[in-house]
Amino acid sequence: MATTPDGQNVYAEAVATGLWREIPVFRMLLGTCPTLAVTAAIKPALTMGLCVIFVLVCSNIMVSLMRKGLRPHVRILLFTLTIATFVTIADLFLRAYQPVMSEALGPYVPLIIVNCVIIWRAEARASNSGVLLSIVDGLAMGVGFTIALCVLATIREVLGTGCLFEIPVLPKAFPAWAAMGMPVGAFLTFGLVLGFINYVSRKRS
């Protein structure tokens, strides 16, 4: 089995990188637009996460398959076109089977095309690794991204409406913080969570 220079299994390394070491939203600050826009409640966040996983895995497979024929100057263009195709598929699928969610997410589904996470993985992993490793990498990064979205969405939905998955979880006496559902809440929650993560990693090192 292939190993990294420091003797670690490449697949384990890819999973660890995606889920913690370089978790896209919190560590690399990539894909911030959807992170802020769709995290007002956990349902859209989860839908968004699943769409990103689908697009990321598919585009990683495609890029990995055509990595031998890539030329530097058309590389980014090809990546973008591949991603745009899969995003169109995801968008049509969502519109057909989850019309309410599709309505709620609106243009943020097509905006996955310019989500830097996907092009970053195409560039950093898929364009120089085999198909299997690219799939594992896409899954790990996608799940890492989804986890980050869900963390923010949970905080915002619980504090903003007192519910989780639209089921009440907090006592009725709790005054819902309407601001958490607004843009203000998005920026503040993301900023504070980032600060908290920095604090924890500084304590540990």
């Binding site: 243009p107 905006l111 843009p183 920026f187 900023g191």
Partner: protein, 195 residues
Amino acid sequence: MDLLYVLLTGFISVVLINNLVFTKFLGICPYIGVSGRIDMAFGMGLAVTFVMTLSGTLTWMIDHWLLMPLNLEVARYVAFIMVIAAAVQLVEMYLKKFFPPLYESFGIFLPLITTNCAILGLCLFLVVWGTSTLIEAVVLSFGGGIGFTIAICIMAGIRENMQMVDVPESLRGAPITLITAGLLALAFMGFAGII
């Protein structure tokens, strides 16, 4: 007069009330990345305004005159991203050849703009808002760029002053920028009543 009224309210709305950064969360990456110094921020804002006006207009034309008559809405996203990439490339080559000083001052920003979600986002929002005339599309995309410039310049001004402030170590950099952006978003909500 009627058209002028529509255009003016549309412009004010997209600059202040539906500001791309504060209400639509578009263009957050450059917003955090390039808002360290006010001259850089202004350069980025100008480059974005320029490309946004151009690509907003072009994608509107392609959408209404090519894709819609042919029932090719399926290809909308692919077409849009192609147009934006091509527009950025053209602008870059044109500036390099004819306006070298301007090209120098835009520098690294131009290629970065292709993947700036504000550009594609605005083109998609033009579809969502049901923009029906060309002039409206031009004004709204220009307004979107101006809104972005205003937002990034305000943030750069605040961040220049923030260098003299003792921010808790864990919050330095991106976290405090996001928190500041949150407070600015709160302030911009105050504009909601002006139209």
